[in-house]
């Protein structure tokens, strides 16, 4: 229909025909169960008994009609296992003081040192409200809260979207702010201070630290044709405050042998020289995300790419491809492949060298290192006659830097009430 004033022309013609100057505006909406629930149970298990996470989430949406919606998501997470502390593997046993400062743990020769005191339960609650503001405008606002034994997160976000071009184009802008309080077990270590013996708290300070994060988001969605949708998002994120991981350390090595310097504890304590990491107190990230969905008849291809760069020197690229293939009228299978590659932060180093000047910032956390990761997975979904859907997804993750692999299994069930 080329006529821009199509609606006005039709309304005027109808008025002339029916002779009613004032038409009462229609009030109609589809009857749906007002509540829809999406529940998931996720298992994430790393190889060699490292981190294991079991997470359950329920997302509930209440539809109030006229495109007004309230959503709330409750998540409970249980993390167990051990994670790499940052210290390098050695040909001799290594003893470390645990984060609490009250005990020691020992790593066998040849093994990557893992901090096995890692155990956490997290609860998170997010709620958001969405409604149209005026014709073509949609507004949403949300609040988020999560808590762990050493962590408290509070966040808020606002966004506004506007449709253009016969609703084929949507432009959105959003802002989010969060504040996190971190109260590390055993106190907050001074950056680049040495790991000391059990009972010696000289390198730690009591009390909590905080971190603020401001995110700005710009989004653009374009319906290219009946079968293709393109979405592009740009985001800017600025974090400031305490950005260290209080449980990560670096080994100090002999420049000639490359082995960690030995240390003789008084009583119980580390048998090598380990320093707590030090990160800058601010981080600015920018990312660009593009996603295209294309339907080839019934099958739907999903392609996504993300580029991220930050002022710590990390650049990352993520590519993802998924293909949803219908099986019969009610089911589908969706294979997926994701590849991730990142460059290291400027201050990332596997260890510190004895005798060299101490850098201002240093971390051996492999998440800040140079690595590639591949995820392969498949999802199967089935819609029931009553309009509900269940799904199962299995993924395998392989990362090259710390020789990490993980299995992810997720069950999902979506239903109305």
């Amino acid at each position: 229909m080329k006529d821009e004033n199509f609606n006005a022309a039709l309304a005027a013609a109808t008025c002339a025909l029916l002779g009613s100057a004032v038409a009462t505006p229609v009030r109609a909406r589809e009857e749906k169960s007002p509540w829809s629930l999406d529940s998931t149970l996720l298992y994430y298990g790393e190889s060699d008994d490292r981190v294991r996470d079991i997470s359950g989430a329920v997302a509930a949406t209440r539809d109030f009609g006229d495109e007004r919606k309230l959503s709330a998501t409750l998540t409970a997470d249980t993390l167990t296992g051990a994670s790499a502390s940052g210290a390098i593997a050695l040909g001799r046993p290594q003893t470390f003081t645990s984060p609490s400062g009250r005990a020691v743990y020992t790593t066998n020769p040849g093994d990557l040192p893992l901090d096995d005191t890692f155990l956490d339960t997290r609860f998170a609650l997010n709620a958001s409200w969405t409604q149209p503001l005026a014709r073509l405008y949609t507004f949403s606002a949300g609040l988020g809260f999560s808590t762990e034994y050493d962590y408290l997160h509070l966040g808020a976000n606002l966004s506004l979207a506007r449709d253009f071009n016969k609703r084929n184009t949507t432009v959105s802008a959003g802002v989010a702010y969060s504040q996190d309080d971190i109260d590390p077990v055993g106190g907050r270590p001074l950056p680049l201070s040495q790991m000391l013996d059990v009972g010696n708290g000289a390198s730690k300070r009591a009390g909590s630290e905080s971190k603020d994060v401001l995110d700005l988001l710009l989004g653009f969605t374009q319906v290219l044709n009946r079968t293709t949708v393109l979405r592009v998002n740009y985001s800017y994120s600025d974090s400031s405050g305490y950005l260290n991981d209080p449980y990560k350390i670096l080994s100090v090595v002999d420049p000639l042998t490359g082995d960690t310097l030995t240390r003789v504890p008084i009583g119980e304590g580390p048998n090598g020289v380990y320093l707590f990491e030090s990160r800058p107190d601010s981080r600015a990230k920018q990312s660009l995300y593009a996603e295209m969905k294309h339907a080839f008849g019934k099958p739907v291809l999903h392609l996504a790419y993300r580029y991220m760069t930050d002022d710590w020197g990390i650049d990352s690229n993520t590519g993802e491809v998924r293909l949803r293939w219908p099986l019969g009228a009610a089911s589908y299978i969706e294979p997926q492949l994701r590849y991730y590659t990142q460059s290291a932060a400027d201050f990332y180093r596997a260890s510190l060298v004895d005798g060299a000047a101490l850098p201002r910032y240093a971390s051996a956390d492999f998440r800040l290192g140079d690595f590639d990761a591949t995820t392969v997975g498949v999802k199967f979904g089935h819609g029931t006659a009553s309009g509900n859907e269940w799904s199962i997804r299995a993924e395998y993750y392989q990362q090259d830097l710390s020789d990490l692999s993980a299995v992810i299994v997720q069950f999902g069930y979506r239903f109305g009430l």
Binding site: M1, F6, A13, T14, L18, V26, R27, K166, R167, R226
Partner: protein, 298 residues
Amino acid sequence: VNASCAATLTRDLDHWVGRFMAMASPCDVLMDDAPADVAQQVLDAVAAEAWRIERKFSCYRTDSVVHRINQAAGCGIEVDEETANLLDFAATLTRLSDGAFDITSGVLRKAWTFDGGDYVPSQEQIESLLASVGWHKVGWQRPVLRLQAGMQIDFGGIGKEYAVDAAAACAEKIAPALSCLINFGGDVAVRSARRDGKPWRVGIESCGRIGTAERVVQLARGALATSGDSRRFVFRGGHRYSHILDARTGWPVRNAPHSITVAADTCTQAGTLTTLAMLQGSHAEGMLRASGVRYWLQ
């Protein structure tokens, strides 16, 4: 009045249900709680209006205005005000659809039979009929209409929706505060909200399974119209041709949605939008999205 033309009034839980047949469709009038005599009066007025419009505009009745117009093709004929209003409205739709909608396209049905089979007429057959199609060939100087010899008009795609709005206006005149739902074969209008504030619930038939509701729409006020080809189509060469003909080509629209339901302020507007969207074929949804109305596709 014969038995098939009788309207029956029955009582449901919290409302009255009036039923009759008109325009080859089952018609319902649902009325909020009211005295029996008021309900009967409203039902009688609604049925009378439906039968009046059917008598006046049916192309199958020899006593109708449409029949008289078609018989007079080749000469000028003066029409009454209501007919003139409908002709003006039809002319607007032809303009808005760039000629795809045309009340003179009915003669094409001599070639097309939509029975779910695969019969397709020859291009020569269609072209010979197209000679008698086209509103631009019609002389229309209100109140005088002049069809060329061999041309015909019909108000299919407008008439039933117009009748729903006209009947709803009749009901409102008799009992302005009474909430009535007028349903003529799936085209529905409600003029005023129910007393308890609850909406009327309108089931939209599923395409695949006739007789079962695909979805339920809550209608507090306004109108719904549905256009579909679940029972009337031609399937040929891998394409499903709906029963909706494009007056410019003489061919049915290809790959349109099986069914379109639109909610609008009046049934005439809703019905027009479903018809014009159907004429867009595979672009139907784009047009509905652009127009900003609430719609449901199957």
